[in-house]
């Protein structure tokens, strides 16, 4: 947190409130997403999560941070990308919070704000996925991996070589990517949807003394 972000209790910095609006917009799409308000901080989610041991901010703390008003730390955390979408937290939550879907909303907000570079594994995997989908309408696994390695680091490909050979030996690799018949229609759908998925521009207010209520140090 930077010095100009220091705020009086109960007041949010313009950046924080802007990130909050963006995030809550994403949460609003989830049926029952508003239940995030009902968190009782019991920790059932963290306890149920099979990967919480590898997270810098476990699920319970994600919601605590959201409440405390530190969206930036939340969006910068590696934890949201560690989630494997197993939904264990979501099914067990006594307050019926859609935690996995909330994490998806965080992922989307972080991507929208370009907080992570395009080389980031999840981002490049999603991008490669998209590329294959747009071209063929179906996923072609070898191509997906090639796109992915080109984006996220070519040396990685070598560690997958033995596996690839083994799969090939069992005739489990489809080399020829087959296009769906109505690929043009699918592309139209995707283009139209992409436009709707575009981030909404919020007004970012510059720092003003009144916004914080006192003159910042320095």
């Amino acid at each position: 947190m930077k010095i100009e972000d220091i705020r009086t209790p109960g007041r949010l910095t313009p950046k924080e409130s802007e990130l909050r609006v963006a995030f809550l917009e994403q949460v609003g799409v989830i049926p029952g997403g508003e239940k995030i308000k009902a968190c009782i901080q019991c920790g059932t989610c963290t306890g149920s999560c099979p990967v919480s041991y590898a997270m810098d901010v476990p699920p319970r703390e994600l919601i605590a941070l959201f409440r405390a008003g530190d969206m930036e730390a939340l969006l910068k955390s590696k934890a949201i990308w560690t989630c494997a979408s197993c939904y264990a937290c979501q099914t067990r939550c006594p307050a019926a919070i859609k935690i996995t879907d909330v994490i998806y909303a965080l992922k989307r907000t972080a991507m929208e704000r370009k907080i992570y570079s395009a080389k980031f594994p999840v981002h490049s995997l999603a991008d490669s996925f998209m590329k294959s989908m747009f071209r063929f309408g179906r996923l072609n696994e070898p191509r997906l991996m090639v796109y992915y390695f080109l984006k996220s680091g070519f040396w990685k490909a070598f560690s997958y070589l033995p596996l690839g050979l083994k799969m090939a030996g069992k005739e489990r690799i489809e080399y020829r990517a087959s296009k769906i018949k109505d690929i043009k229609g699918l592309r139209k759908i995707m283009k139209a949807a992409e436009k709707l998925d575009m981030p909404i521009e919020y007004e970012v207010k510059p720092y003003r003394e009144e916004a914080v209520g006192y003159k910042a140090v320095g």
Binding site: V51, Y87, D101, A126, K166
Partner: protein, 307 residues
């Protein structure tokens, strides 16, 4: 004859042909007709859902719109496809604004989805439409002595309560029990295998998969039966990597549940695509080689022969 719209999904057409082959073979044997949805596209999978919401819902809904032209349930064997398609269904039903947005995109290709399709998993169809009592009558080679660890994975039982319990599902156990197999104690039946973290965060995924294999091995399982292509991939194809990383010596055969059922119904292993798996299950091969018992084929069951 019960008819279903079949949505195989991308992975059943490439890396997991065995699942596709065994699904079709078992369905045929049990008198269900699977009609592939014409010109289906990729569902977008979990990774897309978490990155671009409306796009992922729109591409999933295209399949549902195509399926809606026929009065049949959609059967999606891949867990990821099953979750994404049911999720798209649920979201569009609950959020009218989203429904309008998605349908405006579909209209670009002259399609419309009204929300009238039911998405189902083959496990659901086998236990609730066909029924274990009927399946029992088709058994030609009882699975006596085969110890199976039933691994359901995450996505067919969660997030919403579907056809089975979310914490302790039992449909697959019941199914195998009626085929004469022994279900080992396997408390990790719905624990995550790591999913797509295997590509993006390998060390975590390897640990999760290793724990699953360890649990099955310690409880004396001959093989793990699974319902999900990604689980099968993680548990089977990465066993080499797991062995290297943890110094273990796993050689656990990972089969699709339809492959195991297929053997019991007397379908030969080539048709079920079992030879495409990396590890051979010796016990299952023995059963497959044994002589077939006369099956009732839908008529009252002859008692299962205990070995």
């Amino acid at each position: 004859m019960q008819q279903y719209s079949y949505y195989p999904g991308c992975s059943l057409h490439s890396a997991h042909k065995g699942y596709d082959m065994s699904c079709r073979a078992v369905a045929e044997k049990l008198g269900c007709e699977l009609i592939e949805i014409e010109d289906w596209n990729c569902c977008g999978a979990t990774i897309y859902m978490s990155v671009k919401e409306i796009t992922s819902l729109a591409i999933a809904s295209r399949n549902l719109a195509l399926a809606e032209q026929y009065p049949r349930d959609v059967v999606a064997p891949c867990s990821s496809c099953f979750t994404v398609l049911s999720k798209a269904n649920r979201y569009l039903k609950n959020n009218r604004e989203l429904d309008q947005k998605v349908n405006s995109c579909l209209a670009e290709a002259g399609l419309h989805y009204g929300g009238g399709v039911r998405v189902r998993h083959p496990l659901d169809v086998l236990t609730n439409d066909v029924g274990t009592e009927i399946i029992r009558t088709y058994v030609e080679k009882p699975l006596a002595g085969l110890k199976i660890a039933n691994y359901y994975g995450c996505q067919i039982v969660r997030p919403e309560r579907g056809f089975d319990d979310r914490e302790n599902p039992t449909t697959m156990d019941d199914l195998f029990e009626s085929l004469g197999a022994e279900n080992v104690y396997f408390p990790m039946k719905v624990r995550c295998c790591g999913g797509m973290l295997m590509t993006t965060y390998e060390e975590v995924a390897l640990k999760l998969s290793k724990e699953l294999l360890e649990c099955a091995l310690e409880n004396g399982a001959d093989c793990i039966a699974t319902t999900c292509p990604l689980c099968q991939m993680n548990l089977e194809s990465y066993q080499d990597k797991i062995n290297r990383a943890f110094g273990s010596k796993f050689e656990m055969p990972i089969l699709f549940f339809t492959q195991v059922i297929g053997v019991a119904l007397g379908i030969d292993e080539k048709t079920l695509g079992i030879d495409k798996n990396f590890y051979r299950c010796k016990k299952l091969e023995e059963i497959a080689r044994s002589t077939a018992v006369a099956a009732g084929n839908g008529k009252p069951a002859p008692e299962l022969v205990e070995a």
